[in-house]
């Protein structure tokens, strides 16, 4: 190893990968290894009380339970619905922000406000839902239908939109800033209507980034625990089941199994988002 000359002509410098070693040790020990242990636990290969030899029994039991299947379906519907709705809202917002940025118009306050929820833990967003649409919520005073909405499917969906908003706006804004305004302008000059320019020029260019951002946000929303933990007396989502298996009677194998299922769903969302974005990008370029 020491005989190999450093790539960038500095004599006797220590090998560059040494700089990465502490971080890699931390990541290996406290991220990769625990996840491997979790996967082993779910397969019955862990230490007691998660042992019992290689088996898929934990998975068949988890997926055979109606409560878990309901939570899984709710998770997919709520996280998926929230991300879709957030994307619909975010596209006009980032286009407006890009236009304002190019014109040099402020918007710093709106910018800070729209970034704020990213620094708020999910529990606070759950609490917001209680303040506004809980049983004594503020909006309940205006219309009775709002009281208790926080604990329903709709209420949770709205809370998750709040959660997703900064996570979609941030990356999508970067993509909108790179759009060439000349393209849309020339289409307009050639007589295309505003709606047509959006449909045939702006949207196809923004779509790959929107899909990829959506996949990432979906992964985060699926795993989000704080919001639903605060509103846990309402609709059940899968992360609640993961936690419950440990908090109510330390069932490591069962909890690990659900955690693996949840992680697999999140990874699937990420991978699908990226693959689909690549496909669309190629289709648009062609």
């Amino acid at each position: 190893m020491s005989l190999r000359a450093p790539a960038r002509g500095r004599a006797a410098a220590p090998p560059a990968w040494l700089a990465a070693l502490p971080a890699l040790a931390v990541v290996g020990l406290f991220s990769a290894y625990p996840v491997a242990v979790m996967a082993a636990n779910s397969l019955g290969l862990g230490r007691p009380p998660a042992d019992g030899g290689p088996t898929l029994e934990h998975y068949s039991r988890a997926l055979g339970s109606a409560a878990v299947r309901d939570a899984l379906l709710n998770s997919v519907l709520i996280a998926g619905g929230a991300v879709l709705f957030t994307l619909l809202v975010a596209v006009p917002v980032v286009l407006r922000q890009a236009r304002d940025d190019r014109a040099g118009r402020g918007g710093a306050a709106a910018d800070a406000l729209l970034t704020l929820p990213i620094a708020l833990p999910g529990i606070i967003i759950g609490f917001f839902a209680i303040i506004l649409t809980g049983r004594t919520g503020l909006l309940g005073l205006a219309w009775d239908g709002f009281s208790g909405l926080a604990y329903t499917f709709t209420g949770l969906l709205v809370a998750y939109v709040y959660f997703c908003l900064p996570r979609v706006l941030g990356p999508l804004r970067g993509a909108a800033a790179t759009l060439d305004p000349a393209l849309a302008e020339s289409a307009r000059t050639l007589g295309a209507s505003r709606a047509r320019v959006f449909r045939t020029v702006t949207l196809p260019l923004l779509l790959p980034a929107a899909i990829e951002t959506g996949g990432t946000a979906l992964a985060v929303a699926l795993g989000g625990y704080g919001t639903v933990a605060t509103l846990s007396e309402g609709v059940r989502l899968l992360p609640l089941n993961v936690a419950n298996e440990l908090t109510t009677g330390y069932r490591v194998a069962a909890s690990s199994t659900l955690a693996v299922v949840l992680a697999a769903m999140a990874v699937l969302a990420l991978v699908l988002g990226r693959a689909l974005a690549r496909l669309v990008r190629r289709a648009v370029a062609a």
Binding site: A19, F128, G223, G224
Partner: protein
């Protein structure tokens, strides 16, 4: 059209925060906004028990930021300057906590290292692996910048030592990226709840757990006051994030 949607979105984000402030300053929120008259009593009740918890959360967040710079900085440098299949693999490995949900990682961590939980060491390390991807995402592009690399090699060939190159060239030219990394990591650690759920030392919880506890056991007004105090602590950090984000594209148009 876009202006209306942007406006409505801002309202959607702002209303719950304002409603929390209203609840926190109402003597009896169940009688409506400022029911029983406006008061600051809830803040007076909320602050004394919350102060040490906030202090603890601040300490954890600062420690996580420092560790990120010490451990993540060199890693970002290696990834930016020595691209190879190995660094790409490293990137995937570091990003594991982005793909694995926090509560799952929490289960994994407490399963692997239960003995590190009571001291709080596991909490800090859990926050570190969770925030490292954000440090890397901010620093790697800045460190890979061609102009910076040229300047560094010119300075070195003129006889500047590594410390001098780092202090006078590398760090200043990565200032915006560093600010972005520091603020993001701080905010993420300060509000972290999911990964912390099973690894947070039970006797000495962090701020989000104090809030979570209040949400299920305390009056709505008191919980609102605590939430408002928490938001007041992250708001400056968030302004810094927004500032760094606005500065970032201007650096490389």
């Amino acid at each position: 059209m876009t202006r209306v949607v942007t406006y409505l979105t801002c309202v959607f984000v702002a209303v719950p925060i304002l409603a929390t402030l209203v609840a926190a300053t109402s003597a009896d929120f169940s009688q409506g906004p400022w029911g029983g008259g406006p008061t600051l009593d809830w803040f007076a009740y909320a602050w004394p028990p919350l102060a040490p918890v906030i202090g603890r959360s601040l300490a954890v967040a600062v420690l996580v930021v420092v560790l990120n710079l010490l451990v993540g900085g060199p890693l970002a440098w290696w990834v930016a300057r020595h691209p190879s299949p190995l660094t790409r693999l490293t990137g995937h490995l570091v990003n594991v906590p982005l793909a694995v949900p926090g509560i799952a990682l929490s289960v994994a961590l407490v399963g692997a290292y239960p003995m590190l939980r009571p001291s709080g060491l596991l909490l800090v390390l859990g926050h570190l692996v969770f925030t490292l991807p954000f440090t890397l995402a901010a620093l790697v592009p800045a460190l890979a910048d061609d102009e910076l690399r040229t300047n560094e090699s010119v300075a070195r060939s003129l006889g500047a030592g590594p410390a001098r190159v780092l202090g006078t060239l590398t760090v200043p030219s990565c200032a915006v990226a560093l600010a972005q990394a520091v603020t993001m990591v701080f905010a993420l650690s300060f509000g972290e709840f999911n990964i912390s759920f099973f690894i947070n030392p039970p006797a000495t919880p962090t701020a989000p757990f104090a809030l979570f506890d209040s949400y299920s056991t305390q009056r709505l007004e008191l919980a609102s006051a605590q939430s408002a105090i928490f938001i007041a602590f992250v708001a400056p950090v968030l302004t810094a994030i927004a500032w760094a984000r606005r500065r970032a594209p201007r650096r490389n148009p």
